[in-house]
Structure formats: structure tokens, C-alpha cells
């Protein structure tokens, strides 16, 4: 192998990559935050007493879990507008797709977590006069989050990585900028290596902190 890597192409264009990183973050953080909140509500629907609420939410969850994310993003960009008559920007389509996708996965995590907390916990909370909402907030959710933290961490990482798929609908995020640069300068090795490295630097601190948090929460065991 006599290829001589030249990383100056990366340092010369760092501002472009940085701009891409910023867009990646703008997809990642909102879709995980809104997706988790939506997932919690969706989990309530999955555990609802009424059959049709359970059924509808189940269909939603399965649709998102059993189709490729790539299709979902493209669908929200090209197909969804035909349905509603409003063209979404690439960013809006990507955000919508990833958020809904995240909510479907998160709802399963919440649902499993809530069901794994013994019924006695809800009763212990109700017995001192708490409302169901108070019991959920003060007693059930903290335990679900603790128990499900590894699953939530995984999801967060997955979403960060999935956000790179938004490049196919021309969202100017990190992957898009990387592909653009590498085809402009014919330096895929340096640029794609740099892009992978940036993803790693973006994601790893979160994994690390989640591990620390897990230990901290495990102290009551």
C-alpha cells in the first residue's frame, strides 16, 4: 500500500464538518428528547384499559419497529406530503421520522419497565393518598428509569447513528457534509475516517456518563 494519507483536507474543511455536526446534534437531541416523552405517553396507551387504545398504539409501534428507518425517513420526505398536502423541509422530515421511530422503541422500553415494577409499588403509593399521576412520577418512573437506563442509553446511541441516514434526503448533517467533501476532493479515506471519529467523540461521552449514572443509581440495591 503506497497511499499517503493527507489529513490537511480535514483540517482545511473543519468548519464544514463542524456545521454538519451541529445539524446532527439538532436532529439527535430533539428526536431523542421528544421521542422519549412520546414513548412514555405511548406506553400508557399500550397499558390502557380500553382495547382500542391498546390496539391502535400496538399497530403504531409495530409499524415503526418492523420497517427500515431509511424507508421511514424517505417516506416522510416524499410520501407524507402527498398525504397531507404540505411539503416538509428535509430537516423537518428527518426530525419527524426519527422522533416517531424513537417513540415507538422507547414505548416498549417504558412498557417493559413499568410492568416489571411490582404492583405493590403502585399500591404502596396509592395507600398513602397519592394520585396515579403522583405515584407514576415519584415512585414508578424513577425505578423504571433506573432499571431501563441501559436500554435508554442504547436507544440514544442508536438515534445518534441513525441520524446519519438523514443525509439521503439531503439534510446537511455530518454524514452529508462528509460525503460531499469526499466526493469533491476524492479523499474518502481521510474524510470518512474523520467523520467516524467525530461520531465517536460525540457519542462516547454519553455512554461513559450513563455508565457512571448507572453505578450511582445502583447504590440502593
Amino acid at each position: 500500500m503506497n497511499y499517503v494519507p493527507d489529513f490537511s483536507i480535514v483540517t482545511d474543511n473543519w468548519i464544514v464538518l463542524l456545521r454538519g455536526l451541529w445539524v446532527t446534534i439538532q436532529i439527535w437531541i430533539p428526536s431523542i428528547v421528544i421521542g422519549l416523552a412520546g414513548g412514555f405517553l405511548l406506553a400508557q396507551a399500550r397499558l390502557a384499559r380500553r382495547g382500542w387504545i391498546r390496539g391502535t398504539s400496538l399497530v403504531y409501534v409495530e409499524l415503526f419497529r418492523d420497517t427500515p428507518v431509511l424507508i421511514q425517513l424517505i417516506w416522510f420526505y416524499y410520501a407524507f406530503p402527498i398525504l397531507v398536502g404540505v411539503q416538509l423541509s428535509p430537516y423537518a422530515a428527518a426530525l419527524l421520522g426519527l422522533t416517531l421511530n424513537t417513540s415507538a422503541y422507547a414505548s416498549e422500553i417504558f412498557r417493559g419497565g413499568i410492568r416489571s415494577i411490582h404492583r405493590g409499588q403502585m399500591e404502596g403509593a396509592l395507600a398513602i393518598g397519592m394520585s396515579r399521576a403522583q405515584a407514576m412520577r415519584r415512585v414508578i418512573l424513577p425505578q423504571v428509569i433506573k432499571r431501563m437506563l441501559p436500554a435508554f442509553t442504547n436507544r440514544t446511541i442508536e438515534v445518534a447513528k441513525m441520524s446519519s441516514l438523514a443525509s439521503v434526503i439531503s439534510v446537511h448533517e455530518l454524514m452529508y457534509q462528509g460525503r460531499l467533501l469526499s466526493s469533491t476532493y476524492y479523499r474518502p479515506f481521510e474524510i470518512l475516517t474523520a467523520v467516524a471519529f467525530i461520531y465517536f467523540v460525540l457519542i462516547y461521552p454519553g455512554t461513559f456518563l450513563a455508565g457512571r449514572l448507572e453505578k450511582h443509581l445502583a447504590r440502593s440495591n
Binding site: G120, M130, P142, S220, N221
Partner: protein, 257 residues
């Protein structure tokens, strides 16, 4: 006893699907009464107790607390607004067989939780009350412990302190010692006895017949979904009239009074 009942149950039925567990129960409790409920396993003792604070919804019947009917009747159907049930549960403290402490909170926070979240008390005030209740059950030195690190007997005493912290008018105990190792039963029964001496109104489901004999002002034998025999401890535990009660007691063998 003659006084105004604090708790009244009228025509209580409870079904789980086709399974008719409670078949028409009428019952009153006066302030200061201590009622022991005994009966075979699966006879509906827990269900009865859990209907009192609406952990189970009644299939039929009425519950009156301090002269007020619980629930709102509209066009023949009764609904139970959550807000009202919360108030009822605040007034009826419950202690469970499995303790049901919150494992992610320290002992002190377990006892403070209802004071802060339900009663809206300030942290310092809640802390003062919680410390006093924990002292009462002999667990002052365990404030900062996690519930999971305590023995079963200690956990149950924390659960009692948590129930007491809300200043309930009636205490409901559902087999509070049944999941404890034998050597830990005494410490919990001592706390309950102390509450009896304070004159608290209590309903206790138990298999500790010896304890029930000394504790109770009234004993109820629950069988076939009804109060099969009701009377003083002496009448029910020593001189039962009904064959079924006699049978039940015989199966328990000798118990020390």
C-alpha cells in the same frame, strides 16, 4: 361500645369476573375498635380489607366514612372520583404483607414522601414528623439506610411509620407478619400492640390467633364470602358456636393465649 361509627360498610359484594368473593357484608367500626379478621387462605380477607380503602373497586355496596358516603351517585351509577379516593386513602393507613416500601428512597424519605407529595408539607416539617414516627417504631438510627438493606421486621416497621405519618384515623393491616421470619414477628407485633394501647382504630387480618386474642376488641371469622361469625375474642377464639369456625380453629391446633 356505643358511639357513632367511623366506618360503615353496607351490602358489600366483590366479584372478580365470575368469581364471587364477597357476598354481602354489613359492618360497622366505632372509634377505638380493634377488629381482627381471620379465615382460611383465599376466603377474601385481603379483598375485604382492600375494598375499605378502594384498592379494589366494589362490585356492589356502600362504604361510609364518618357519616359520609364515599363515591358520587349519578343516575343510579356510582363513580369514585380519584380525588375523593386519595382523601379516603389518606385517612385509612394501610400496611401490606409485602411492606411495599419504595426501594429507591432512603428510610427517612419513604416516611417523608406522603407528607411532602400528598400533604404538601415543607421538607423540614415533614422531616420532623417522619423522625418522630421512626423513633416510635424504634428505627431512629436507620434514617439513611436503603429499605433493601433492612431485615423484614425493620422494613415492616418503616412501612408502619410511613402509614402513621399521614395521621390516619383508621389503620388497615393485611397480614403484617406473614412474610417475616418467625424471630422477627415479635418486633412488629410489639409496635402494633403499642398502637392499640394508644387507642387507635384498627382492622387487622392475621393468622396470629394468639396475638388477635389479646389485641382485638372484636373478631370476625370470614368464610364463604360472608362474616360467618362475629364476636369478642373470647366468643370466637375460645367458644366458637359455628361448626365451621370450630373446624378452622381446630386446624390451627393449639395457640397460646
Amino acid at each position: 361500645m356505643t358511639g357513632k361509627p367511623i366506618l360503615e360498610v353496607k351490602g358489600l359484594h366483590k366479584r372478580f369476573g365470575d368469581h364471587h368473593v364477597l357476598k354481602g357484608i354489613d359492618f360497622t367500626v366505632e372509634p377505638g375498635e380493634r377488629v381482627a379478621i381471620i379465615g382460611g387462605s383465599g376466603s377474601g380477607k385481603s379483598t375485604f380489607l382492600r375494598c375499605m380503602n378502594f384498592m379494589e373497586t366494589l362490585s356492589e355496596g356502600e362504604i361510609w366514612l364518618d357519616g359520609t358516603r364515599i363515591g358520587v351517585e349519578k343516575k343510579g351509577t356510582v363513580t369514585y372520583p380519584e380525588k375523593q379516593l386519595c382523601q379516603v386513602r389518606e385517612r385509612l393507613g394501610m400496611v401490606f404483607q409485602q411492606f411495599n416500601l419504595f426501594p429507591h428512597m432512603s428510610v427517612l424519605n419513604n416516611v417523608m414522601e406522603g407528607l411532602v407529595t400528598v400533604q404538601g408539607k415543607s421538607k423540614p416539617e415533614a422531616r420532623r414528623i417522619a423522625e418522630a414516627e421512626l423513633a416510635k417504631v424504634g428505627l431512629s438510627e436507620k434514617h439513611d439506610a436503603w429499605p433493601g438493606r433492612l431485615s423484614g421486621g425493620q422494613q415492616q416497621r418503616v412501612a408502619i411509620a410511613r402509614a402513621l405519618s399521614m395521621q390516619p384515623e383508621i389503620l388497615l393491616f393485611d397480614e403484617p407478619t406473614s412474610s417475616l421470619d418467625p424471630e422477627l414477628v415479635g418486633e412488629v407485633l410489639r409496635v402494633i400492640k403499642q398502637l392499640a394501647e394508644e387507642g387507635r382504630t384498627m382492622l387487622l387480618v392475621t393468622h396470629e390467633l394468639g396475638f388477635a386474642y389479646h389485641f382485638a376488641t372484636k373478631v370476625i371469622f370470614l368464610a364463604e364470602g360472608v362474616f360467618h361469625e362475629v364476636g369478642t375474642p373470647d366468643e370466637i377464639l375460645k367458644h366458637p358456636k359455628q361448626a365451621r369456625t370450630q373446624d378452622f380453629l381446630r386446624r390451627f391446633g393449639e395457640f397460646a393465649f
